[in-house]
C-alpha cells in the first residue's frame, strides 16, 4: 500500500465508485464539488451601450473605451459588431467575454451560411439564443460578465433587446446598459413623449446627445464612439466617430479649490 508512485486508483476495485482518500463526486451532480472557482469580476470593461427604435430602423451606439478599473486603458475598442444583415450586437462589461462571444457568434453565422440548410440569424433569434447561453452560464456559476444589446429586425419588424449576465432579457423600444439606463433612457423617453416616431436624423441626434451626456457624467466613458444603423436594407456601422468637439468644458474654469 505504501509503494511510492502507486496510488489506489491504479488498481480499480470498482469503476466510478468512491476512492478512499479522495473526494467522491456523487452521480447526477454538477461540477460544483471540484473546488475550482471561476473569475467572478470583470477586468477590462466597457461602459454603457444605448439603443433605440426609430421610424424606419434601429440605432445602436457605444463608446470605444476599455477601462482597466479607473484607468482609461484601451481607447479604440470596438464593442459593436454586425452579426448578419438583420442583426447587430453591442456589449458592455468584460471585454474579453465580449470578444469570446463575438467569435462564437461569428463562427455560428459562418456555419449557417456554409451549411445552407437554415435561415440567416435574425435579431430575435440571436437575442433568444444569447439569453439561453448567458442564463446557463450563470446557473453554472461561470458567467460571461456582459450586458448586451441586440438590435435589428425580426420577421420584418424592428427589434431591440437587452440580455445581461444573469440572463435577464427583455425587448423594448429604447434600451441601454450601465449608466445609460439612468441617463440615456429617460432622455429618449422624454423625446418620444414629444414625438412618437423619430426620423433617422432625429434618432441620430438624440443618440449622440445621450452619449455626450454620458461622457460628461460617466467617469468610465470616452468621446470616441461607434454607431450602428440597422434598416431593412442592412446594417451600417459608423466607426471612429468623435464627439469631443461638441463638448463644452468652459465650466472647468470656474471650479476652484480642487487643485
Amino acid at each position: 500500500m505504501a509503494v511510492p508512485g502507486v496510488c489506489l486508483q491504479d488498481f480499480p476495485l470498482w469503476s466510478g465508485g468512491p476512492t478512499p482518500g479522495h473526494f467522491y463526486n456523487f452521480p447526477g451532480n454538477s461540477k460544483m464539488n471540484t473546488g475550482k472557482s471561476h473569475t467572478m469580476y470583470p477586468s477590462t470593461s466597457g461602459t454603457s451601450v444605448v439603443g433605440l427604435v426609430y421610424d424606419g430602423g434601429v440605432m445602436l451606439a457605444a463608446d470605444s473605451l476599455g477601462s482597466y478599473g479607473s484607468l482609461a486603458r484601451f481607447r479604440d475598442v470596438k464593442r459593436l459588431f454586425k452579426v448578419t444583415d438583420k442583426a447587430a450586437l453591442a456589449c458592455s462589461g468584460d471585454i474579453a467575454d465580449y470578444q469570446f462571444i463575438r467569435e462564437v457568434i461569428e463562427q455560428k453565422v459562418r456555419d449557417d451560411v456554409c451549411g445552407g440548410y437554415t435561415r440567416e440569424l435574425n435579431a430575435g433569434a440571436l437575442h433568444c439564443w444569447l439569453t439561453r447561453v448567458l442564463y446557463n452560464r450563470r446557473s453554472r456559476f461561470d458567467p460571461l460578465w456582459l450586458e448586451c444589446v441586440v438590435a435589428g429586425y425580426k420577421d420584418d419588424e424592428p427589434f431591440l433587446g437587452y440580455v445581461d449576465k444573469i440572463g435577464t432579457a427583455f425587448e423594448a423600444k429604447e434600451v441601454a446598459t450601465g449608466f445609460g439606463l439612468h441617463f440615456a433612457v429617460p432622455m429618449i423617453r422624454e423625446a418620444r413623449e414629444k414625438k412618437q416616431n423619430l426620423s433617422c436624423d432625429e434618432a441620430r441626434k438624440l443618440l449622440t446627445e445621450c452619449l455626450k451626456v454620458l461622457y460628461y457624467r460617466d467617469c468610465r466613458a470616452h468621446f470616441k464612439y461607434q454607431l450602428a444603423d440597422i434598416t431593412p436594407e442592412g446594417v451600417t456601422i459608423h466607426d471612429d466617430l468623435n464627439l469631443k468637439k461638441e463638448t463644452n468644458w468652459e465650466v472647468a474654469n470656474y471650479i476652484s479649490g480642487y487643485e
Binding site: Y117, T118, R119, N122, G124, A125, H127, C128, W129, R132, D155
Partner: protein, 264 residues
C-alpha cells in the same frame, strides 16, 4: 457469399454495398403506402391505413400521420415502433430549436438533423438502422411549402410529389405522368392522391376507412395541419369516382367518334 457481410451494419460488402441498410429499405417496401404531393397553395399527405380492426380503440386519429411542430407534419412507412422513436425525436429537435432561438425550426434543418441521427446508425454503434422512411410536409419562411423524404440510409431529398411503402415505384411513375408542376392546387392534389392510391392499393374500390388524408395550408399567417375526417374523405372519393366515370365516358366517345373502333 453475401451472407457473410449482412449481419453487421458497419461494414461494406465487397461490391461496396451496405446490406443492412438495403434490407431496411426492403422492410419498408412491405409497409403501408404513403404519398405526398406539393400543390401551389398547400401540401397533401395520403396514407394507407392497415389497422382497420373494429376492436381497435380510436385513441389516435391517425396511425401514420404525425404532427411534429406548428408548421410541420410527417407520414411514416415501416416498422411502427421505430417510427415512434423517430417522431418523438423529431418533436424534441423542433422544440429544442424553438427554446434556443424563439422561432420555429426551418423544415430542411429538422429533416437534416434527423437524417444525421439515422446515418449514425449505419456507420457506427453496431446497431441496426431504423426501418422507417418518412415523408415530411412543412412550411417555413425560407422556401414556403416543402415536401421531403428520408430513408434508413440517412439520405433525404426535396420532392414535388413522391411515394414510399408498398407499390411506391408504381405510384411514383403514375405521379410522374399525372402531376403538373405549378399547375396543381390543393383540391386537384387531393384528387390526384386518391387516383394514385386507387391504382396502387390492392383494392378495387377506394374505401374511406382504409385511407388517411392530411393537408397543410397557410391561412392568415398561421399554418393549419388538418387530418381530413372520414365523411370528407368519402365526399372526395365520390368526386374522384365521378371524374373517373366522366373521363371513361369521354374516352369511349372519342373512340366511337373516330370511327376506327372496329379494327380490333
Amino acid at each position: 457469399m453475401a451472407r457473410r457481410y449482412d449481419s453487421k451494419t458497419t461494414i461494406f460488402s465487397p461490391e461496396g454495398r451496405l446490406y443492412q441498410v438495403e434490407y431496411a429499405m426492403e422492410a419498408i417496401g412491405h409497409a403501408g403506402t404513403c404519398l405526398g404531393i406539393l400543390a401551389n397553395d398547400g401540401i397533401v399527405l395520403a396514407a394507407e391505413r392497415r389497422n382497420t380492426n373494429k376492436l381497435l380503440d380510436d385513441v389516435f386519429l391517425s396511425d401514420k400521420i404525425y404532427k411534429i411542430d406548428e408548421d410541420m407534419a410527417c407520414c411514416v412507412a415501416g416498422i411502427t415502433s421505430d417510427a415512434n422513436v423517430l417522431t418523438n425525436e423529431l418533436r424534441a429537435i423542433a422544440q429544442r430549436h424553438t427554446l434556443q432561438f424563439g422561432e420555429p425550426i426551418p423544415c430542411e434543418q429538422l429533416v437534416m438533423r434527423l437524417c444525421d441521427i439515422k446515418q449514425a446508425y449505419t456507420q457506427y454503434g453496431g446497431k441496426r438502422p431504423f426501418g422507417v422512411s418518412i415523408l415530411y410536409m412543412g412550411w417555413d419562411t425560407r422556401h414556403g411549402y416543402q415536401l421531403y423524404q428520408s430513408d434508413p440510409s440517412g439520405n433525404y431529398s426535396g420532392w414535388k410529389a413522391t411515394c414510399i411503402g408498398n407499390s411506391s415505384a408504381a405510384a411514383v411513375s403514375i405521379l410522374k405522368q399525372e402531376y403538373k408542376v405549378s399547375e396543381t392546387d390543393l383540391h386537384q392534389a387531393l384528387l390526384l392522391a386518391l387516383k394514385v392510391m386507387s391504382k396502387t392499393l390492392d383494392m378495387t374500390k377506394l374505401n374511406a376507412e382504409k385511407l388517411e388524408l392530411a393537408t397543410l395550408v397557410r391561412n392568415d399567417n398561421k399554418t393549419e395541419i388538418n387530418v381530413i375526417s372520414v365523411e370528407e374523405v368519402k365526399e372526395l372519393i365520390k368526386e374522384h369516382e365521378q371524374k373517373e366515370a366522366e373521363a371513361e365516358a369521354a374516352k369511349q366517345d372519342k373512340q366511337s367518334g373516330s370511327g376506327k373502333s372496329s379494327d380490333k
